[in-house]
Subunit: 484 residues, 2 copies
């Protein structure tokens, strides 16, 4: 019958179509049974087996439940919650955060207006306030973004808008060429953002932050060539080496030249919880904006990325707003400043604050500080053990919880002078990585950097890691690489 | 002891710090108990009570569990899964999708490389292929984005890059002024995107799509004034009225002028599942890109937003890539084309495909089609009932599942000629909405549009809705507004 409905609905409804209008398409009892079974499987297979060091990091047992019709051989997961997942800046599991994520998914609301997310609008404000306080700001603004790249890109857009508010309506036409300063080890989102914003990657000027003179010199060259620098993007915790830019010194330069200072602390921001290590970000309070991803070191779960602003002039909303009348009606009965959606370039926006809020409340600031401190202690242990063994060569002493090193297999030891040494060394990490992935024993990343050939980068911060896992890590690298 | 650790680690570790290195900070048994309790509360309070029509849409009983330290009076949730949540384009619950979301949250991986998300990289490709097939494409590309606004903005960036590849490195400097065509009822993300990309909101030219001549005329004016149009952003399912642009006619214009045709089908895309209603998007296969949010009508859960591309030249990756060597090593042992991260402007990217994949597999294309068809039948019923009652005035016959109407309270009926009629009518919807929110009986949105004063927009598509809920809706509007 339904097929016969004319397009414009200019008819009387057929009784046959009406019969089932009172039968929803979802059976709650059946659905809840499925969900409960799924939950039990998730706990058993992912949280129990998946985090058990006796099990592989690479996991296949969800196959029967999902019965994916893709190539069978590729059907495996890597369990980021496994204590031997050292691959990236996400690892581990926090059960409070995970409970918050389950609740977020079930409530399935949206942060654009207060009316559909009253608690979460206030909760986001509260969490942002707490994070800002750690930066050292008693006032300010902020928003959760879908990842640190977006936070960095928002900062660029805000800096540009503050200097040239007309860019919002008129675009870049008629404006001088703009330039951004950053460091060679900054995150690639600075370039991605420059491309997206119409500024161009060539206008991101990379200066070594250890060389104050060359930064100032570059600034002068830039002004001379007619480009207007408007932003310096510093990094607290670079992706590969975990290095921290000297924020106080950069702030001096930014003050002098009236530049927006942005701190990409997506990775390193969590040191602010630690009394012992927060000095690494000394000067962050002098910045205009800080990007910080609690989904990394704090294990809040992807995605949880805060952009924090010192601004108190509603810059975020002025820059991003479009004043859609269907969402942001001005004649609502509550304070319409609580409709925070127009601060975002997104329309629908996930609730990313609840998981962090719940974990923070459960563990406390001191508990989060303890995790950060313990990660540093673990790294210290790992570094000391590396120094005691042959074959582990550090790139440099770690500042943070990234440990970058080459494994020199026995056949290459003492052969540094050989012509093919670098070429052969470059092949070691990929080969070991291939073997570990195929055997599923652990996960760790490698990369080249500048003229340095492939080296391993082990990231140690998961609250699930123990000393035994670090010993295992070293033994396993040796086992997998000893014949190379 | 930890407090005494010097900054540069140039010391021997203190034995006291080592003692607890084998004790992870997370207690799995305790954590899993908490998670299980949370799960049981979520099922009981949100999924059972929250979707029960006898309960309020506004919900307070999670308070004791969360014990939020914010203003007590504001501690309430709106349950988007409640059958009487008609407020926005998200509502309802699908248990398969929800199970997929729980698994996604627990695995907590990241779509940037194949090595950390092997199944999900393939699954995303498979889901995108399925969605493209419904558009009518046998080849192409695509990516999941954090919301439809981002999908629309990506399309703009791709269109610009295709026409002027040098924009990526050099920015907009030296390029002519660019212009975008869209319609007045298009989503506000078109303007937000134009601002972000440095194009400027003034360069978004709004043309009425019903007037082919004025569109062509505007194009001419645009060329004449030196601006280069590069994109037409059409809408399939406008946010307020649910209108569909005539894609075939727009495609003719785009063909003639060699313009990128983008279809924002974030809301309306799901009609493609329905044999009966897919004609609304006839011509979509002629577009270059389609944005489609399965988190809306398909109830996949926020966020689930696909950008689909006809392109087969790797445009997405060429436009967005930054080739970070620490992620996208070229000497991996698997096909590095499976490292899809560089197609995105994001770095970390959530897995948004699993929930849709699982639901699609469980319900089938026919099940999803049935949901779409039933929503149209519900809307038809609602419209017929409105016509039978006094006081309900439709703005126009709905094309889709948005029903826009004024409720005329008894005191205003027959007073259309009065000078204060429009002013008084404008206050009706906000007053009724305030009452319904405070009583928590249901949720529905209102807005003004152009010279039309505040009207209600009821969105009917949740698979939980039944005829009784629609009768309740009408009765409740009358009950809340009869004294106005």
């Amino acid at each position: 019958m339904a097929d016969k409905l004319p397009l414009a609905y200019e008819h009387v409804l057929e009784p046959a179509n009406l019969r089932d209008l009172n039968e929803p398409l979802i059976d709650h009892a059946e659905g809840q049974l499925f969900l409960t079974q799924a939950f039990n499987i998730i706990v058993e297979e992912v949280l129990c087996k998946g985090t058990d060091v006796k099990q592989k990091v690479c996991h296949e047992s969800l196959r029967s439940w999902l019965s994916l019709r893709l190539a069978e051989t590729t059907f495996f997961f890597f369990i980021s919650g496994h204590p031997r997942f050292f691959n990236q800046q996400f690892a581990g599991v926090d059960y409070h955060a995970l409970a918050g994520r389950f609740l977020t998914e079930t409530l399935n609301t949206n942060l654009f207006t207060y009316e559909v997310a009253p608690v979460f609008v206030l909760m986001e404000m509260e969490v942002l306030r707490g994070l800002r306080q750690l930066v050292g700001w008693t006032e300010g603004d902020g928003i959760f973004c879908p990842g640190g790249s977006t936070s960095n890109i928002y900062a660029m857009n805000l800096a540009r808008y503050q200097l040239f508010p007309e860019v919002k309506s008129q675009g870049l036409y008629g404006l001088p060429r703009l330039a951004i300063f950053s460091s060679p080890e900054s995150h690639y989102s600075v370039k991605k953002g420059a491309a997206l914003l119409g500024i161009g990657t060539d206008n991101v000027i990379m200066v070594k932050v250890d060389d104050g003179e060359s930064k100032l010199c570059s600034l002068s060259v830039c002004f001379f060539q007619g480009a207007v620098p408007f932003l310096v993007s510093c990094t607290s915790g670079t992706t590969v080496q975990g290095a921290f830019d000297p924020l106080d010194r950069i702030a001096d330069v930014c003050d002098k030249h009236k530049l927006w200072m942005h701190v990409d602390a997506a990775w390193g921001g969590s040191v602010l919880f630690s009394k012992q290590h927060r000095h690494l970000m000394k000067g962050a309070d002098r910045a205009n904006s800080v990007a910080w991803n609690p989904h990394k070191m704090l294990v809040a779960g992807l995605q949880c990325s805060a952009l924090l602003l010192k601004d108190t002039t509603n810059l975020l909303k002025r820059c991003h707003s479009a004043n859609a009348t269907y969402l942001f009606q001005q004649d609502k009965f509550y304070d319409v400043n609580l409709d925070i959606g127009d601060k975002s370039v997104q329309c629908s926006r996930k609730v990313d604050c609840l998981k962090l809020w719940l974990m923070w409340k459960a563990v406390g600031s001191s508990g989060l500080a303890e995790r950060v401190d313990k990660a540093f202690v673990h790294v210290r242990y790992l570094v000391e053990q590396m120094k005691k063994r042959d074959g582990f060569h550090l790139l440099r002493e770690p500042e943070f919880v990234n440990v970058c090193f080459w494994f020199i297999p026995p056949s290459l030891r003492g052969k540094e002078g050989n012509a093919d040494y670098q070429d052969r060394l470059a092949k070691v990490a990929p080969t070991i990585k291939e073997r570990m992935m195929k055997q599923g024993t652990m996960m760790v990343g490698y990369q080249p950097l500048g003229n340095k050939v492939n080296f391993f980068r082990v990231i140690v911060f998961s609250p699930l890691v123990s000393q035994k896992d670090l010993d295992f890590f070293l033994n396993e690298i040796e086992r997998l690489g000893d014949d190379l």
